[in-house]
């Protein structure tokens, strides 16, 4: 039994190893060619690292896309990553940005507290951090500027839309909440203030918020909460849902109970599905957010920072009320 024989007999294995390794490498490198490979094209001003909460929500996708486009105008390239709701993963993405020595980091934190340590590490590496849409609430983490929807004013608009939808009669309404999110707390705060103010000014036809239920910010949660609400209050006339998915879930429950015409729904967001629902009359109106403006404004703020200007610690992008009439003129809907 010579060594050569042994060598020959193991050869196929080596080939398998080599072939598989080559396959793996081709995958890796091939994928890289499709993406943004560093060092090609025009001399860049630097790289901006972006990590959003999830790319499965069109809202964040729009932020990522507009930020990337706008960044190109200023000579930056953007690396888009997504934490997909996993804060440990998002932290690793930030650490990779630090190793790459990116010029700036933009985050939509998956967890407003736990992301703090990652931001501190970026602070220690001297990299400016910006947050978009979702804020960081961890003490000791330094964020240059936070760019987000004005949720409080948006909530007020939702309140006005509810008053408009119910007319003189008023009646009982419920709020489908998502209390875990800071943004939703602000929306409901604004909404409540407008409704309270309205009730103070009149004797009859008041609007009563009879319950605040957890809708989970999702269709299934909105469906269940709305079903329970109709059982408890058969004379319900309105629902304010803090986002489109829970509004649509509520709508499904109303249709099942045969109360779709009795109850008016106000949503929030203005995602394509929500806008379509407004056009079809399923939702009365939405204060719509502008993720494209958030993305563009974030990049402009970064550019201003590098120009040496002082930028505000918080920049709020107003919402706009979107009703059926707007939907009918909207070219993005069929």
């Amino acid at each position: 039994m010579s060594g050569i024989q042994r060598f020959l007999s193991m050869r196929p294995r080596r080939w398998t190893v080599a072939a598989l390794a080559a396959l793996v490498l081709l995958w890796g490198c091939g994928a890289d060619q499709g993406g943004k490979s560093p060092g090609d094209g025009t001399p860049s001003r630097g790289t901006i690292g972006l990590s959003v909460m999830t790319l499965t929500n069109p809202f964040f996708k729009v932020i990522a896309d507009t930020l990337t486009d706008e960044a190109r105008k200023y000579g930056y390239e953007v690396v888009v990553t997504s934490g997909e709701f996993d804060v440990a993963r998002q932290r690793n993405q930030v650490k990779d940005f630090i190793v790459r020595k990116v010029s700036a980091i933009v985050l939509c934190p998956t967890d407003s507290k736990a992301i703090g340590t990652a931001i501190q590490e970026a602070n220690q590496a001297g990299i400016p951090v910006f947050t978009a849409d979702l804020a960081c609430l961890a003490p000791g983490a330094k964020v240059v500027s936070h760019i987000a929807t004005d949720n409080y004013a948006g909530g007020k608009e939702a309140g006005k839309a509810m008053i408009e939808a119910l007319g003189e009669a008023g009646g009982k309404i419920v709020v489908l909440h998502y209390e875990q999110a800071e943004s939703c707390l602000l929306r409901v705060k604004g909404f409540n203030e407008i409704i309270d103010q309205y009730n103070r000014e009149r004797q009859a036809g008041n609007i009563d918020i009879v319950a605040v239920l957890p809708g989970g910010g999702a269709k299934d949660g909105g469906y269940k909460a709305a079903e329970d609400a109709i059982q408890a209050h058969p004379d319900l006339v309105g629902i304010f849902a803090i986002n489109d998915p829970s509004a649509l879930g509520a709508r499904a429950a109303l249709e099942k109970a045969g109360k779709a015409d009795q109850v008016r729904i106000i949503g929030f967001d203005g995602q394509p599905e929500g806008k379509q629902a407004i056009k079809d009359g399923l939702i009365y109106a939405d204060p719509v957010q502008f993720p494209d403006r958030i993305g563009r404004r974030t990049m402009q703020t970064i550019a201003r920072h590098f120009e040496g200007e002082e930028v505000p610690a918080e920049i709020l992008i107003p919402t706009a009320l979107y009703r059926k009439a707007d939907a009918e003129k909207d070219p993005t809907l069929q």
């Binding site: 060594g3 598989l20 995958w27 890796g28 993406g35 630097g46 990779d96 040496g308």
Partner: protein, 455 residues
């Protein structure tokens, strides 16, 4: 040609640790792809920039130094200022801050009417837009030139910081994979480790908040809280072990149940929120780097691998674990305490998951029931890529470490090259499939070798 001993060694290496080769190849590939311009930092950068400036400007030239405020840049700025002054140049000022600070300085200089010949920057500050069209914005500084340290080329992947980064990122999964390797060697599986991470992180931070004095907790308190969390996880693991042995519930089902229970308990205890009332020093385990500047989590991980390796290769218990996985009935007949071995293995696996949870809570300085999502699957992938067989009886502790590193290197490499996250999943899945194919091919080759021997 052909030293038989060399070939035997090569053959053993390939069959035992063929995955090492894959890891090296992956490393080589990512080194090639991330070959990029690098910039010296700190004092080294100051040294090289001084040479450049003194080569281009005569003594007496006026220079402004611009760096950011963190330590590396501060070293650069201080050292540069010293060297330039020593070489007879005039340093008009040193900016340690962000672009607005640089702007203020430039404005003041421009107004004062003192001429400026050069602005000495790091590679990062040199690219700040505030220095664009300098003459238009600050008429007094029209002639000033921006100088940065000369660059060299080196792969981003192979930088010391990045390699430590890779090790640090995989530490939690690698710690889990130690226990998982043992469970899989006994032909079992543990699906509960991901939830146990969340449970342990929540228990640990919750204990610090409720039982110790929250932000004012001392080191001993924190160690006790961490041990408490690990102990509780160990108990849950022992429970799974009892389910698997005494009640003969298949491990898949027993640990699936435990996965839901642990996750639910974590949500109940934390009331769905993250628990963050912990002292600043809590991050020592996850973020400190005391030993040779290697992160503590990585040191912990390596120590665990070494002990587990010794346990599996040098002790009777290790051989029992292999024996139970190889043939349970034969092991029982030859006097191996099968039940005790299995309960031990599940307990250890869960306790290690608890440790992983404490490390993660420390890294993130908070505990949340959402941690550890899908970690059981990444852990199993690391073990399988590392060469352990799901049929039991086979597997090596260091093989698992290699497997964990392969996964970490792929993720890190793709992040460095900017591959989007969806593609990353596809590549990762393909690698896991490739690894198992390789494992099977390896065994077939083995059979051929044995046939050749019999001739």
């Amino acid at each position: 040609m052909g030293n038989p001993r060399f070939h035997r060694l090569l053959s053993r290496l390939l069959s035992d640790y063929g995955m090492v080769l894959v890891l090296v190849l992956l490393g080589a590939c990512f080194s090639y792809v991330t070959w990029d311009e690098q910039h010296p930092t700190g004092i080294e950068a100051a040294e090289q920039l001084t040479d450049r400036i003194t080569g281009e400007f005569p003594p007496g030239a006026a220079v402004l130094v611009v760096a950011r405020e963190h330590r590396e840049d501060a070293d650069f700025a201080d050292s540069l200022q010293q060297r330039l002054t020593g070489a007879g140049l005039k340093v008009l000022g040193t900016v340690k801050g962000q672009p607005p600070d640089a702007r203020d300085h430039l404005e003041a200089l421009s107004r004062s009417g003192v001429g400026l010949d050069a602005i000495a920057c790091t590679d990062v500050t040199g690219r700040w837009a505030v220095f664009d069209r300098l003459g238009d914005k600050f008429p007094g500084l029209a002639g000033a030139r921006i100088l940065t340290p000369p660059s060299y080329r080196w792969p981003n992947f192979l930088k010391r910081d990045n390699l430590l980064n890779v090790a640090n990122q995989i530490a939690v999964i690698a710690i889990l994979a130690v226990g998982m390797t043992m469970v899989i060697i006994t032909a079992g599986i543990d699906l509960s480790v991901g939830s146990l991470i969340a449970f342990s992180a929540v228990v640990c931070t919750w204990l610090i908040r409720e039982a110790a004095s929250a932000e004012a907790a001392g080191p001993l308190d924190m160690v006790l809280c961490g041990l408490g969390a690990i102990l509780l996880c160990g108990l849950l693991g022992a429970f799974s072990g009892v389910m698997v042995t005494w009640f003969a519930i298949p491990p898949f089902i027993a640990t699936l149940g435990m996965m839901l229970v642990a996750s639910g308990l974590a949500y109940i205890l934390a009331e769905g929120q993250s628990v963050y009332q912990v002292p600043d020093s809590f991050v020592w385990l996850g973020r400190g780097a005391d030993f040779l500047r290697i992160p503590n989590a990585v040191v912990l991980m390596l120590a665990l691998y070494l002990s587990a390796h010794l346990l599996m290769t040098r002790t009777a218990l290790g051989r029992y674990i292999y024996a139970v996985g190889g043939n349970r009935e034969a092991a029982r007949l030859s006097g191996v305490p099968v039940t005790a071995v299995l309960v031990f293995v599940y307990t250890l696996c869960a306790a290690l998951a608890g440790l992983g949870g404490v490390v993660m809570a420390s890294q993130l300085k908070s505990g949340s029931p959402t941690y550890g999502l899908m970690y059981e699957l990444y852990t199993i992938a690391a073990v399988v890529v590392g060469g352990a067989s799901l049929a039991g009886g086979e597997g090596r502790i260091f093989g698992t470490l290699i497997g964990a590193f392969i996964i970490a290197v792929i993720q890190n490499g793709m992040n460095l090259t900017g591959v989007e996250s969806y593609t990353q999943k596809v590549v990762l899945g393909a690698v896991i499939l490739g690894a198992v194919m390789l494992d099977i091919a390896k065994k077939r080759g083995w059979g051929r070798l044995q046939r050749a021997r019999q001739v």
